[in-house]
Structure formats: C-alpha cells, structure tokens
Amino acid sequence: MRPTLHPLRSERWWGLLLVVPALVIIGTFGVLPTLASFLIGFTDWDLLGTPRWVGLDNYRSLAADPVFPKVIANTLLFVVLYLLLDLVLALALALALNQKLRGLGFFRTAYFLPVVTSMVAVSIVWEWIFDPRAGALNEVLRWVGLGPVHWLSDPSTALPSLVVMSVWKSLGTNVVLFLAGLQALPGEVLESAEVDGATGWQRFWHVTLPLLGPTVLLVGILASIRAFQTFDSVYIMTHGGPRRSTTVVVYWLFQNAFTYFKLGKASALAYMLFGILAALTWVQWALRKRWVHQEQDA
C-alpha cells in the first residue's frame, strides 16, 4: 500500500478559502434567485410595490388564461418538429462523416459556424432569407415556379420557419455527438454483420441504430431542453405573432414579467418550465450513469 500523509490541519481552511469566491457568486446570483423564484410564484408583484402572498392564484390564473393552452401547444409543436428534423439530419450527416475521410475537419468546421454565431445575428440573417419579396428562399421557389410564401407573417408557416432556422443553428453540435457515439460502437459487431452479407441499409437499421440507442436518447434530451428554452429568435423575428402562433413558453414568460409586470405569474410559469426541464435532465443523468456502468462492465 502506498503511504498516505495525514491531511494537514490547515487544509480544511485552505479548502474553504478556495471555494468561497465561487460559492459567493453562485449562491447570490444563482441559488438565491432559484429559491426566490419559487416563492415569488405565490405572490402578486409588479416589481415596484411589495409582493402580496396569494397562494396558488398565479397557477390558477395561468390555467384559466386563454393564451395558456395556445402557448403549451406552440411549445410542444416546436419541440417535436425540432426533434424530428434535428435528429434525422444530424444522424445522416454523422453517418456520412463516419468513414475514413480526408477533410473531416473542414466539414465539421462548416457545420459549426452556425453553432458559434449568436442567435440574434442568425435571426437577422434568416429574416432576410425569409423576406417575402426579396428573400433568398422565395427566389429559389420562384425558379421552380412556386410561392411567394409569407414565411414569418403567415400563422401557419411562422412556427415551422423558426424551427427550420433553429435546426440549422444547432445541427453541428448534434452531428459531433452522434459521430462520437458511432465511433464508440463495437467494430466487431458491425464487421460480422457485413461478413454475414447484410446490406448497408439492413446493417444501419438492425445493428447500428439499436446500438446507438443511448446516444440518440441523450442527444434527443439535450436537444429538447434547448428547444424548450427558445426565446431570442421569437423576440427578434416574430414577437410571438402572427396571432400568437409563435408565442412559446419562454417568450410568454418574458412578456408576463417585463411587458405586463406580472412577476408572480411569470415565476409560476418559470417553475412549470423548470419542472419539465428538471425531469428531462434527471432522465438524462440516470441514463448516462447506466450507460457509463455498462461501458465499464463490458
């Protein structure tokens, strides 16, 4: 056995001293607001006056608000469309990247340019692309004899347009995560399937995809957490309209807080969002634990 030194008595003071700066910041501007948010959810508060305790009134008024079901429907539609498009495209690109390839770095960099660009800048560029009169998208449609489509000002296309842009923005992240998952797959299994004469499609469908299951789930959960938090693009491009068709939960939260000054209601909404995201995160952590254990057992 390796001899271990008894920890110095002074070590516990050094330890505390080293963590204090970080903990003061995180405690004051992180933990405290999270706890306060929960309490504010039970008050009536306009920021200027004193908060008045109203129990569950905010949650009741949320449930009774005619906008609420619309917001939930918009958010869920956004998340589902985003997930479908995002997972399929990212997986396709990752599969294409998963071969001996010169220029892998070039493709990865290209896919990452949108990821590192601010959502505000991206939203402005895509507003120009979606422009009904002179935008690139309608121009391309015109070449094939279609359109023009009023992408952002038509209630039936505004939300899907935002989804397309969001998928474009974050695709690179998921490609890289899928690629890592693909490269960690056991090579022997894939080889033996190939030796057994399975076609490429059969191998993907019956071998690769089932083996990739945990990665798909992980990437999917991370992507849906991101989708639930959509705000910047809505603020810049549609202001929640037309006719509330793009009012997703975080945008409505922001409006309640900083347009209508109903901070209690906004906080109640924030905690509902928190509940959903916490559940998703918890599933993600639990899966990851199991996954890591499996890797270690193997």
Binding site: G15, L18, P21, L47, L93, Q99, W168, L177, A257
Partner: protein
C-alpha cells in the same frame, strides 16, 4: 454508407450550413438600391464597402463592440480564476461540507436561466445595478461548468506531486498556484472558449439588465438597430453591422476549435 452518397450528403450539408453566411457577406457588400431591386440579386455588383464605413462611423456599433469585449474578457478571467480555485479544492482537499457544496453547485447546472430571470433582476435592481456594467459582469464571474471542468482535471493530478510538495513544506496555496494551476492549461482553454462564446452571444439577460444605448452589448444593440428599421429595412447596412458582430466569435472558434470540441464532449457525454 456508400462513399459517394456520403460525400454528396456532406457537401450538401456544408453548403446549407455556410450559404446564409455567404448571403450575409454578399448583401453587406451591396448598395441599398441593389438590395431592393427586382428580381433580387445574390451577387454584389458593384461591390462596395460603404455599408461597413457607414455602420462603423456611427459610434454606437463601436461602443457595443467594446462593451461586448469588456464583458467577455472580464467574465472569462473571473470564471477561470474562481473555477480553478474551487475545482481544485473540490478535487484535492478535505473540508467540512465539501460534498454537499459540490452537489449544490452541480444542481445549479440543472436550472434554466429563465427561472432566475425575475428574481435576478429584482436583486440587481435592489443593488442599484440596473443599467451598469456590474449587472452584466458580476453574476457571471463564477459558474458550475467551470468548477466541474477544473475538478475533473485536478482529480487526475498525481497524488505524489502533492505529497512531495508537502514534505518540502510547500503551503497548499502556493502548491495550487505554482504546481497545480500551470498543469491545467487545457481546462483553461476549454472554459475560456466556452465562456467567451456564451458571453459574446448571450441576449436575454443584457436585454433585461440594461436600457441605455451606451451600455448595450452587441446582441442587444444589434436587436435594437434591427427594430429601429422596422418600416423600411436597409438590409445591406444591417448585414454589415451583423458581420462585424459575428466575426470575433468565429475567429475565436477557429483558433480554439480543438478545445471547443473537447469541452462539448466533456459537458455532454462524460459529466
């Protein structure tokens, strides 16, 4: 996947991912007349730098740029410092409440920023910090991701190093600064690029926390600039300003790409 098909998919993907940037650049080099002409033009002819001149001659864009640089640099430095110190202590030292405190720090990673928005604003208002640099900087001087990253790094530090230093009578404080921290450059680089990009691109908090034009960061300034042209949009001018805003983030990414990818995997997979 079939090799040719695979390459085709990759090239189409690369085109779609970069095309909006090419359009951004092309439009920023057009005249206003060209951008409103019909049918729409994709290629600037004649190409002009007037939009960049005009965008940069209005002092506001420089000011927003400088604000973004200031906030990013200070928060990157702060996060590295507080994160390395706390990460080291959580990894290598024994003190009362260590595991509980680390658990609380980890838990804050789970809280979406929107949950804290209202009380954080109320707190900052109470401190008299609304519309100040403190509001943009101080809440971001430490973060769970940085602590987590450095803790992972220092967990891998060989115990023998510490034992030797202890025998030589080196204090934990000096050991941290002169031995442990200099080994951690990869963690510094990873946290540095993550925090830089996060700070450079963040929108919601600076939008809420500031209201004067001269305190805006680039995303907030750009959003206000865009909103100010709601009736008729001068797309070439707007695209020139947008180009100026995104170039630093792209440059930093290109330089520190390797560290960025590594951090992405650490954050998403290993955790």
């Amino acid at each position: 996947m079939n090799r040719t098909l695979g390459l085709g998919v990759l090239w189409i993907g690369a085109f779609l991912c970069t095309a909006p940037f090419l359009l951004l650049l092309a439009t920023s080099l057009m005249t206003y007349e060209q951008s409103v002409g019909y049918p729409p033009a994709f290629w600037p002819s004649p190409a002009t730098l007037d939009n960049f001149r005009k965008a940069l001659s209005e002092g506001a864009l420089w000011r927003w740029f400088a604000n973004s640089v200031l906030v990013a640099v200070v928060t990157v430095a702060g996060q590295i410092l507080t994160g390395a110190m706390a990460g080291y202590a959580f990894a290598r030292m024994t003190f009362k409440g260590r595991d509980l405190l680390f658990f609380v720090v980890l838990m804050t990673m789970m809280v979406p920023v929107q949950v804290n928005l209202v009380p954080l604003f109320a707190l900052v208002a109470r401190l008299g910090w609304v519309d100040t640099y403190q509001a943009l900087i101080v809440p971001d001087l430490a973060g769970a991701f940085g602590i987590f990253l450095f803790r992972q790094w220092f967990l891998g530090l060989p115990r023998e190093l510490e034992d030797a230093a202890r025998i030589d009578g080196c204090s934990p404080w000096r050991f941290f600064w002169t031995v442990a921290l200099p080994t951690a450059t990869p963690a510094v680089a990873t946290l540095g690029i993550f925090q830089f990009l996060a700070s450079w691109n963040t929108f919601m908090w600076p939008l809420v926390a500031t209201n004067s034009d001269h305190l805006r960061t680039l995303p907030v300034g750009l959003a206000a600039f865009r909103a100010s042209m709601r009736e008729t949009t001068d797309w070439p001018l707007l695209m020139a300003a947008t180009t100026v805003a995104i170039v630093p983030a792209i440059l930093v990414f290109l330089i520190l790409q390797k560290q960025f990818m590594k951090g992405l995997m650490d954050g998403a997979v290993k955790g």
